[in-house]
């Protein structure tokens, strides 16, 4: 193995069903239902998935949901904005934890 992440591995995802087929089937049924048109459109969900994929930095999901969002009719401007949402939340989350730093510093300081 040259690298931990290999694009060809995405196609092997279903091998995760080999040892636990019931759990796999339940997961896939749930997964499929999540992405159907509902109160949110399938496209909105694909854009959320793309943003989350960037937040969790999963290359498989980035590959899959870049294609997925395009195939739901999204364009790169919309996809870029979705990633900025992920970025803002991740950055904001880091920054807001600065309040904890301040709390600790205050507690132990004079």
């Amino acid at each position: 193995m040259d690298t931990y992440y290999n694009p060809a591995d995405l196609a092997k995802f279903s091998t995760m069903g080999e040892e636990a087929p019931d759990l796999w089937q339940k997961f896939m049924a749930y997964y499929g239902a999540v992405f159907e048109n509902g109160a949110l459109t399938a496209r909105e969900k694909a854009l959320i998935a793309l943003a989350v994929a960037h937040a969790i930095q999963c290359p498989y999901c980035i590959d899959a949901y870049t294609q997925g969002a395009l195939e739901k009719g999204a364009n790169e401007a919309q996809m870029t904005e979705a990633i900025h949402v992920a970025c803002a939340i991740r950055g904001g989350a880091a920054l807001v934890h600065g309040v904890q730093m301040k709390n600790v510093a205050k507690k132990i300081g004079f």
């Binding site: 399938a42 496209r43 294609q67 195939e71 009719g73 364009n75 790169e76 401007a77």
Partner: protein, 335 residues
């Protein structure tokens, strides 16, 4: 003239070289082989020439300004005769840019005289050329249905596929068509748009993308239209070359196979149409034409009803593009 065009044989070799289950095997699996056309053909799609003012990246015809193939008036007359003899109701004119054939208007006049419904496929930009600027009015006068390609509702995506300035030019022509009543509510002048994916991915659900086009074109440019057809990119011609060169061929074909939807098979367009090449040869569809996959009646000069109807269709691996997801045809999604 030296025209850089992919040979149909090498295209078929390429389509065969991809490691996928063949389309024939797939049809056999669902007991749909051989695929046959219906009892009656309703559409004759004729490709009146490969000359085009554009050279789009997804073009299966590999059309462009350097091409020279043009249908003669004699072949057109033979097509009309066959339409008349076999009660084929709709004439669907395609190309290249059909407008660049000097007999395009003659063909439309003749077809409307024998009461045929006429569709002309249009890249819009050609109508901005002063030599063709009179055509929107001519179309309106003859109640021609215009099917216009506009791959996306933004400039960036459209120009990336079709060339700089194409989006803006298309918008101007769409406004003009609207002014004549095309695509306006209550008008019988039909203006349908065609979306194509901007690369090696499948088209979105037609309804959703149609709503996006409608909202964006209306809000930004005041443009209206009747329907949007979401048509997939076929692994033929220039798009096949792109797939090969960019390393997308195998994954794209796998994607098409994975999205195979058996429900689309009975509605694929070849079951209801016959396609004629610029030199009068007959094919099951425009894609087969570019791959030189001939069909039973060989030439328009020798075309009998019993050959047209219930004919065995020459399927190959590119047919997966017709059966992926909701299906794809010249009239958009199939199911």
């Amino acid at each position: 003239m030296n025209v850089n065009v992919t040979s149909p044989f090498s295209q078929l070799d390429t389509l065969e070289s991809v490691g996928i289950k063949t389309f024939v095997e797939k049809l056999k699996e669902i007991q749909a082989f051989p695929l046959k056309s219906g009892d009656h053909i309703n559409i004759m799609q004729i490709n009146i020439g490969k000359v085009c003012n554009l050279s789009c990246k997804h073009c299966h015809v590999e059309a462009g300004p350097q091409r020279t193939e043009i249908m003669s008036q004699e072949i057109m007359a033979q097509c009309l005769q066959v339409m008349n003899d076999h009660q084929i109701k709709t004439l669907d004119i395609t190309g290249g840019a059909p407008e660049l054939n000097p007999n395009h208007q003659w063909l439309i006049r003749q077809a409307t005289e024998i009461n045929r419904h006429v569709i002309t496929r249009c890249n819009l930009t050609v109508l901005n050329d002063k030599n063709y600027a009179h055509l929107p009015e001519f179309y309106a006068e003859h109640k021609v249905e215009v099917v216009a390609s506009l791959p996306y509702y933004t400039q960036k995506n459209t120009d990336r596929m079709r060339g700089d300035g194409v989006f803006q030019s298309s918008i101007e022509v769409l406004k003009q068509l609207n002014k004549l009543g095309y695509g306006r509510e209550g008008s019988d002048l039909k203006l349908n748009l065609v979306y194509n994916p901007g690369g090696a991915f499948l088209p979105p659900a037609q309804q959703g993308i149609e709503a996006d086009f409608r909202r964006n074109l209306l809000d930004q440019y005041g443009i209206t239209f009747n329907s949007l057809y979401a048509i997939g990119n076929f692994p033929v011609g220039r798009f096949l070359t792109f797939l090969q060169k960019s390393g997308n061929l195998q994954p794209y074909m796998e994607k098409l196979v994975a999205a195979f939807n058996p429900e689309t098979v009975s509605g694929v367009m070849c079951r209801d149409q016959i396609s004629v090449s610029w030199d009068g040869y007959l094919f099951d569809c425009d894609f087969n034409q570019m791959l030189n996959l001939s069909c039973k009646p060989k030439h328009i000069s020798d075309c009998k009803a019993e050959d047209l109807n219930g004919r065995e269709i020459a399927v190959h691996n590119h047919c997966y593009a017709c059966t992926a997801g909701s299906g794809s045809s010249c009239g958009g999604a199939v199911v």
